[in-house]
Symmetry: C3
Subunit: 132 residues, 3 copies
């Protein structure tokens, strides 16, 4: 535990890179669909892109916190593997959401499942630490 989890740090930067991309998509969607700040509604295409970005932000604490507790207390590789799957599920979610609101569901279910798995992995890591 004296060293930083290296693979988890890489996956963390991948998640941040995808969020940069979503932020850029929101900026471009403002121009394309004529939704001027501070408005965040007014065109359904814009609203789906905006909400896809927001939803990723909303889930970031539920992802990053268990991810890093898992990385420190259980395993860097387990955390990084689940983290990579999470980034992939957020890409699936975004592609689905940009097509139609209903098409966001499967990506959402996968990303939620991964966050729950990471949560229990973090709890397991803390339990092991308490007993050893």
């Amino acid at each position: 535990m004296g060293i930083m989890p290296f693979y988890t740090a890489i996956v963390t930067l991948l998640a941040v890179a995808f969020c940069f991309y979503l932020a850029a998509r929101v900026v471009f969607a403002r121009g394309r669909y004529g939704v001027h700040a501070p408005a965040v509604t007014g065109h359904p295409e814009f609203e789906r892109i905006f909400r896809a970005h927001q939803n990723m932000l909303e889930w970031m604490p539920l992802f990053f916190v268990p991810l890093w507790i898992c990385a420190f207390y259980l395993s860097d590789r387990v955390a990084a593997g689940l983290g990579l799957a999470w980034v992939a599920s957020r890409i699936v979610y975004f592609i689905g959401y940009t097509r139609a609101a209903e098409k966001r569901i499967s990506g959402f279910m996968i990303q939620t499942t991964i966050c729950v798995l990471l949560f229990f992995a973090a709890v397991a890591g803390l339990a092991l630490h308490a007993n050893g």
Copy 2:
């Protein structure tokens, strides 16, 4: 400071668990009140649940950052104790907000006070560290 703050990690996971619960409440409220994504307005009950979740997310950086700086630089137990009180105040806030918008105020005042206390505890921790 070479070891991870154990009690603070537990309280952090409790805060995350409550945020999972709020995210689930928003999902169920969409169905119950017929507010379909990407809309986030349209029914007052839904809007209060949605905003209660959002507000917790908005305060997470103002909670987690001072919490962990306090845990590392001042005391794991002080951080964990205040952190536990914060989670309780967010539950009070949520229960109040789901009843009526005005009933969110007392929980909000308590959670704000705890975040301010954690902030000054974090500053104190850094000041001690700089002097010693």
Copy 3:
């Protein structure tokens, strides 16, 4: 890497302090412009203040994550220097946005550039770590 990045911790608390200020401005703007919770629209002045706060929150993961990876893997001072510039750019952004929506642009460009720089500094830090 066994010690906590001290200057980065100070800059992190500065960013949190400014976010506390923005949260307070939103609370006061609700009263001043008569936008009662759970509504987050209804008056253009309120909406610009609300969105300026939201936008800072949206960028926090894109700031804090690269900031701390840079601090741990590359340099505490580089991270803290860029972090201080980011807080300044968020102040510029907020002052601009409260005046007119278009006046947020220059602050936004600066803060985005700094987050991108921090991201590449974090990648460089991880690359150095992998090779050495």
